[in-house]
C-alpha cells in the first residue's frame, strides 16, 4: 500500500467541472426523462387559450404571465428529486465526506439542472410567445427574462430540493417551500415582457433579474450545501 503517495491537490474549478461533466453525461443518457419539464411547459401554455378563448388581444395581454407561471411550474416539477438519485446510491455522502467544498459541488449540480431543465424552456419560449400572440418585439425580452429567471429558480429551488431530501413524497412540500420564494422572479420576469408588450422600456426589470442571478449565485450554494449536510447526516 502506498500510503506515502501524495494526495493530488484539486482546484475548485476541477471539482466543479468533474461533477458538471458527470451530471451532464447522466442527463444525456436518459434524455427523454429530461424533456418532461419541457413537455409540461408546452402543454400548460397551450391549455390556456382553450380555457380562456382564442381572442388574440386577450391572449397577448395575459401571455407574459401565462408563459412565466408555466415556466415556474415546469421548473418546480423538475426540481423534485434533484438530489434524490445521488442520495440513494451514496454519491452524496461521498461528496460530503470528500473534503471538497460542497457548495461548489452543489453549484455544479444546479448548473446541470439548469442546462437540462431551464435552457430547453428558454429555447422553446419564443414559439410559445407566438402561440399566445405576443408581438415579435417582445420575444427577445421573453427569452432573456426566462434565461435569467430560470437560473434564479434553479438556484433557489435547489435549496428547497435539498431541504426535502429525506422527505418521502415531498412534491407538495417542495412547492410550498419554493413558490413563495420565487414570487420576486415571477413578478420581474413577467413584468419585463409585459412592459415590451405595452411598448415600454424593460431594461430595469431585466437588470433586477440579473442582480438576482448574481445574488443567488453567491448565496444559494451555501444554503444548498448546508441543507445537503443536514439531509445526509439524518440517514442514521
Amino acid at each position: 500500500m502506498s500510503t506515502e503517495q501524495e494526495t493530488p491537490t484539486v482546484g475548485i474549478w476541477q471539482v466543479f467541472s468533474t461533477v458538471f461533466v458527470r451530471d451532464l453525461r447522466i442527463a444525456f443518457s436518459s434524455w427523454s426523462e429530461g424533456l418532461n419539464p419541457l413537455l409540461f411547459f408546452v402543454l400548460v401554455v397551450s391549455l390556456f387559450p382553450l380555457g380562456i378563448g382564442p381572442d388574440p388581444r386577450l391572449l397577448s395581454s395575459i401571455g407574459p404571465g401565462v408563459i412565466w407561471v408555466s415556466a415556474l411550474l415546469a421548473m418546480l416539477m423538475s426540481l423534485d428529486g434533484l438530489f434524490a438519485a445521488d442520495h440513494r446510491d451514496g454519491t452524496l455522502e461521498q461528496w460530503v465526506l470528500s473534503g471538497q467544498p460542497l457548495s461548489i459541488i452543489a453549484l455544479a449540480k444546479v448548473c446541470t439542472h439548469w442546462v437540462r431543465s431551464g435552457l430547453p424552456l428558454v429555447l422553446m419560449s419564443p414559439l410559445l410567445g407566438v402561440f399566445l400572440n405576443l408581438p415579435t418585439t417582445a420575444l427577445p425580452v421573453l427569452v432573456v427574462s426566462l434565461l435569467l429567471g430560470t437560473m434564479i429558480l434553479s438556484l433557489v429551488g435547489a435549496i428547497g430540493s435539498a431541504l426535502t431530501l429525506t422527505v418521502k413524497q415531498g412534491g407538495v412540500l417542495l412547492a410550498l417551500l419554493v413558490l413563495p420564494l420565487s414570487v420576486p422572479v415571477l413578478i420581474f420576469g413577467a413584468a419585463a415582457v409585459q412592459a415590451v408588450v405595452e411598448q415600454r422600456e424593460a431594461l430595469g426589470q431585466l437588470a433586477l433579474l440579473g442582480g438576482g442571478v448574481m445574488g443567488a449565485l453567491a448565496l444559494a450554494p451555501v444554503g444548498i450545501a448546508a441543507a445537503l449536510r443536514v439531509g445526509v447526516s439524518s440517514g442514521d
Binding site: 413563495p180 448565496l219 443536514v230 442514521d236
Partner: protein, 247 residues
C-alpha cells in the same frame, strides 16, 4: 460566557423560570388588552372619513406587526441554533412558528374585513396584503418541513435553514410586491389612512401592540415548556418534576 449560557439555557432552569414568570406576563397582557380595547373602541374619536370602521385597526395593525416580529425572532433563534447548536434557541423557533402563523392569519382576515367597507371588496391585491399572504406561506412551509422530516434533529436544522433563507428573501419579496402593485394598479385604491393620525388614536394602538407583545411572550413561555417536556421526556429532570408533582 459559555458557562453562563449553559446554565441559563439548560431546560430545567428555563422550565422553572418560565413557570414562575408566565402567569404574571399573562395577567399583564390581559390588563393591557382591556385597557387598549377600552381606549381604542370607546375613548378614541371616530375617523372623519371611515367613521367607526377604522377601529379594526387596533387588532389588524398589531397583528401585522407581530407577524413580522415573530418571523424575525424565529430567524434569529434559528441562526443561533445553527451556529452554536443551542437547543433552547431551536425550541424558541419551534414554539414561535405556530403563533406567528396565527398572527399572520389574523392580520389577513382583519385586513379583508376592513377592506370590505373601505375598498368595497373582500380581497384587494394590495401590496401589504399580498406580502402578508406570502409570509403566511413561508410560515406554513416552515411548519410543514419540520413535521415532514422524521428525524427530529435534522428536521430542526432543515427548518432553521429555511427560516434563514426566508428572512433573507422577505425584504426582496416585499419590495417586489410593492413595485408590482404600483405598476398594475396606479392609484386605483384610495387608501384612507388620512394625513396623520391624531394622538388619541395612536396611544391605543401602542397599548394594543404592548398587549400583543406580552401575549406572544406568554404564549412562547408556555409553549416552550410543552416543547421541552416533549423533547426531554426521558430525562431525569422531567422524571423528578413528575415525581414531585411540580409539572
Amino acid at each position: 460566557m459559555f458557562k453562563w449560557i449553559h446554565k441559563f439555557g439548560s431546560p430545567p432552569f428555563v422550565y422553572g423560570f418560565s413557570k414562575a414568570l408566565s402567569p404574571w406576563i399573562g395577567l399583564a397582557s390581559l390588563g393591557l388588552f382591556a385597557w387598549g380595547l377600552y381606549l381604542g373602541l370607546v375613548k378614541a374619536p371616530p375617523d372623519y372619513e371611515q367613521g367607526e370602521v377604522y377601529r379594526i385597526m387596533y387588532v389588524h395593525v398589531p397583528a401585522a406587526w407581530m407577524s413580522m416580529f415573530v418571523y424575525v425572532v424565529m430567524a434569529i433563534s434559528s441562526a443561533v441554533f445553527i451556529i452554536w447548536r443551542m437547543k433552547l434557541a431551536d425550541a424558541v423557533a419551534e414554539a414561535s412558528a405556530f403563533i406567528g402563523a396565527s398572527f399572520t392569519f389574523l392580520a389577513l382576515v382583519t385586513g379583508s374585513i376592513w377592506g370590505r367597507p373601505t375598498w368595497g371588496t373582500w380581497w384587494e391585491w394590495d401590496a401589504r396584503l399580498t406580502s402578508e399572504l406570502v409570509l403566511l406561506f413561508l410560515y406554513l412551509g416552515y411548519i410543514a418541513l419540520r413535521s415532514a422530516i422524521e428525524h427530529p434533529q435534522s428536521g430542526a436544522r432543515a427548518a432553521a435553514i429555511l427560516a434563514i433563507v426566508g428572512v433573507v428573501n422577505i425584504p426582496i419579496i416585499h419590495f417586489s410586491v410593492e413595485w408590482w402593485n404600483s405598476l398594475h394598479q396606479p392609484a386605483s385604491i384610495t387608501r384612507a389612512d388620512g394625513p396623520t393620525m391624531h394622538i388619541s388614536m395612536i396611544i391605543p394602538l401602542f397599548v394594543m401592540l404592548g398587549a400583543f407583545q406580552l401575549y406572544y411572550a406568554h404564549h412562547l413561555l408556555v409553549k416552550l415548556r410543552v416543547v421541552m417536556l416533549e423533547r426531554d421526556r426521558r430525562t431525569k429532570w422531567v422524571a423528578e418534576r413528575v415525581q414531585n408533582g411540580k409539572l
